[in-house]
């Protein structure tokens, strides 16, 4: 009994089902789905770009911080001026 049911379903799919899948309405649905998928892809890519930009900002900030630190350290060093003084004498 079950086999006959499966067979019937197969016949039904092979005739009406194929037609339905290729019908104009179905094609519209495919186009919509694909469009949605493409939009999703675009928004993912935009999000990725935004993250990338953010990461670059962070990196630039980090570099700036290190530069400031290095400058501060350099400013904290008192230069050896003994040679100059002896020259002045």
């Amino acid at each position: 009994m079950k086999k006959i049911g499966l067979f019937a379903a197969g016949v039904l799919f092979g005739t009406a089902g194929i037609k339905l899948l290729g019908s104009r309405d179905a094609r519209k649905a495919y186009a919509q789905t694909t469009a949605a998928a493409l939009r999703a892809k675009e928004s993912v890519m935009t999000a990725v770009t935004a993250v990338r930009e953010g990461a670059e900002d962070v990196y630039a900030d980090a570099k700036a911080i290190n530069e400031r630190r290095a400058e501060a350290e350099a400013a904290a060093v008192v230069e050896d001026a003994s040679a100059e003084e002896s020259k002045a004498e």
């Binding site: 890519m45 990725v48 930009e53």
Partner: protein, 698 residues
């Protein structure tokens, strides 16, 4: 345009342009507009978010003003964007990668197992077919391994593993194609930017014309060493044309009146007038691309070794797989070996490194025609300079014109300029420039000019033979005399200059002293080359010995050869190679061509003649000798990277196999680690070799 600053640190701005949408071409317009501003160091434009990052060292206000003044229409009219940019290409491959990754994630998350299984089977067909076709052709290549790995996983019902393997292979393919296309495109756009001049024949005289102004039907004159710039047909004269850039055939072809000639080929000898049939335009870029793809067959030996090694390892991997199975009777352990075929890592990571180095070098205005040459540069211990135009500025100047006999100084300069203006040589340019500076114009009053390579020019003026050229050519070959009573004047010629001798009717008429100043950085650059491992820096020149030696001492080269002929240069290089040295030749003129092709890597300074650029393996467009040092450092870094990758790949994967056979790692984990490491090392190999900061010269 209205903009909003999103982020700011010293010397860096990120702004958002309030323009709604931004197309790829608009992004290019913005990028090149900003780059053209004073004090801007680097610009990155993200078209998706309409953001731009500007790195600058100018005053902040000027950058802001430039941004405010920007409009797409105005900037587009400035025509700053080159014909081809790689933005579209990058976008295409970024998208491909993203789609592949998203599809993978999507199918893992949402699709039920039967469908992913079916998809895996469908996708596996490609790999299995490639594997079978390799076997059919009697090759045990990496394709066979890929196919075996995929098939075995599927036969075992492990479709997830089969899927991951194929996903990784697919990603690798995309990345490989991307780097490859991008480096070719970068190289081509760098090379196709140059605008050349041609000699156009108008009413019997020759006029220097920009190539872009030439129309179909115009007649242009091609002489020895000149590149044929446009497609056309010979109407007068005869020339031997080297068409290797088109056909790969290195024997020159004779072109008679009526024969077609093709853009990009080079006249090796003779001269002809061609009637132009097709004007330049988009053809040039495509031609350059073709040329590069052609030369890419010249893979570096390291690259070649890697891919041969990869294929050679295949039987061992297969053998190891079988052996493991026979010894352990354990399919899981067997798969552990199969999953870790390090051949594909070698095949991907090393070519990527080479291509990426070629791309990076084009960023320094160095175009390399094949990975082989980078390897030669890294290995070389001898570097030979042709003095003029390489160690010295490409633009020598006339210091003095000393007339002999009863001749008039200005008249002699005019005659010399008239002869010299047809030939692509820096000394000739100097004479022409000097005549122009002194406002000595001339009608073309000589007959057919003959050019004797590296010697000089001869022609007929008012039925008298006029020759101009080197001492050797003028006095020995042509037997000219010094006018009586002027030997003392001749002996007193200043030695600091190079001399050009002009003779009329067998008698010396004038000596033109040419001042060829050393490049400011020559001495420093030679020292840097020594430091980078060259043991023998050689200078060669056609100049007289005294001049040559004083220059050599100033620059600090190890050896100097003066009064050499082109054949001698090539012979010297051949001799050094026979002694087991790797030799680089740096030159710029027609007379360097034999030496350039003889050397392991011939480097042309691109201000020189077309034939030198065509024959050279590496072209340096920069006006700075330190480009050679950069090139050396780059190629050494590349070789280091290649060897490093090689050791890493073999070591890492052997460990994976050992762990797999020992049963510590299951096949899926080792496959993941293997593919991950392959991808990781390939991505690393795509990065720049040299630090920008390290490379900006003090």
């Amino acid at each position: 345009m209205k903009c909003k600053i999103l982020h700011e640190t010293t010397g860096r701005l990120r702004v958002h342009l309030c323009c709604g949408q931004m197309s790829l071409s608009q992004a290019d317009v913005l990028e090149y507009y900003l780059r053209a501003q004073d004090g801007v160091q680097a610009v990155k434009v993200y078209d998706r978010t309409q953001d731009a990052v500007v790195l600058y060292d100018a005053e902040r206000g000027s950058i802001i003003r430039a941004l405010a003044a920007f409009s797409f229409a105005k900037a587009e009219a400035m025509e700053l964007v080159p014909e081809h940019t790689s933005r579209a290409l990058n976008r295409e491959f970024e998208d491909k990668l993203a789609v592949a990754v998203m599809r993978r994630c999507g199918s893992k998350l949402f699709l039920p197992a039967p469908i992913t299984t079916a998809l895996a089977v469908i996708r596996s067909i490609k790999y299995i077919r490639e594997g079978l076709s390799a076997l059919w052709h009697g090759r045990l290549s990496v394709a066979v391994l890929d196919a075996t790995a995929v098939t075995v996983s599927m036969v075992r019902g492990d479709f997830a593993t089969a899927g991951s393997v194929m996903f990784m292979l697919h990603l690798g393919e995309i990345l490989e194609e991307w780097t490859h296309k991008k480096s070719v495109a970068d190289l081509a756009s760098a090379m196709s930017l140059r605008v050349d001049n041609v000699w156009q024949q108008v009413n019997g005289t020759e006029v220097l014309t920009k190539i872009t102004d030439v129309k179909p039907g115009d007649r242009i004159v091609i002489r020895t060493g000149g590149m044929i710039p446009l497609d056309g047909r010979v109407v007068e004269g005869e020339a031997m044309v080297n068409q290797s850039s088109l056909t790969g055939e290195s024997m020159p072809v004779v072109k008679h009146p009526g024969s077609p000639v093709y853009a990009g080929t080079v006249a090796e000898e003779g001269e002809c007038v061609i009637s132009v049939e097709k004007v330049s335009g988009s053809g040039r870029y495509d031609r350059v691309v073709r040329m590069i793809e052609e030369s890419e067959k010249l893979k570096s030996t390291a690259e070649d070794k890697a891919s041969r090694m990869a294929d050679r390892l295949v039987p061992y991997t297969l053998g190891g797989t079988v052996l493991t199975y026979l010894l352990t009777r354990n399919v899981t352990k067997m798969l552990a070996v199969l999953m870790v075929d390090f051949s594909c890592a070698l095949k991907l990571a090393i070519p990527v490194a080479v291509l990426s180095a070629m791309r990076e070098s084009s960023g320094y205005h160095i175009s390399v025609k094949g990975g082989r040459f980078l390897e030669a540069v890294a290995k070389a211990d001898t570097i030979v300079f042709d003095k003029t135009g390489t160690l010295t500025y490409a633009t020598p100047t006339v210091a003095a014109v000393i007339p002999f006999g009863e001749h008039d100084e200005a008249e002699m300069l005019r005659l010399a300029a008239c002869l010299e203006e047809h030939y692509p040589h820096s000394m000739a340019n100097a004479v022409v420039e000097e005549a122009k500076r002194r406002a000595l114009t001339h009608e073309e009053y000589h007959s057919q000019v003959q050019y004797v390579v590296a010697h000089g020019i001869s022609s007929m003026v008012e039925d008298k033979k006029v020759i101009i050229g080197s001492a050797h050519f003028v006095f020995e070959d042509e037997g000219c005399r010094i006018p009586e009573g002027e030997q003392a004047k001749f002996d007193a010629l200043p030695a600091a200059y190079s001399h050009l001798y002009l003779c009329k009717d067998g008698e010396l008429a004038a000596v033109i002293c040419i001042h060829d100043p050393l490049r400011r950085e020559a001495r420093e650059a030679v020292r840097a080359l020594h430091e980078s491992g060259f043991t023998n820096v050689v200078m060669m020149t056609g100049d007289n010995r005294r001049t040559a030696e004083s220059v050599a001492a100033e620059v600090g080269v190890d050896a100097v050869y003066a009064e050499v002929l082109p054949e001698d240069k090539a012979a010297f290089i051949r001799g050094e190679k026979e002694k087991g040295h790797t030799v680089i030749m740096v030159g710029d003129g027609v007379n360097d061509s034999p030496a350039l092709s003889e050397a392991d890597a011939g480097i042309a300074i691109s201000t020189g003649a077309a034939i030198a650029r065509e024959i050279a393996d590496i072209t340096v467009a920069s006006e700075d000798l330190f480009a050679l040092v950069t090139l050396r450092r780059l190629s050494q870094a590349l070789m280091e990277r290649i060897h490093g990758s090689y050791r890493f790949i073999v070591g890492f994967n052997l460990t994976l196999i050992a762990l797999g056979v020992a049963g510590i790692l299951p096949p899926t984990t080792s496959a993941l680690l293997h593919n991950g490491s392959t991808l990781g090392i390939s991505l690393r190999n795509m990065t720049d070799l040299l630090d920008d900061e390290e490379n900006t010269r003090k």
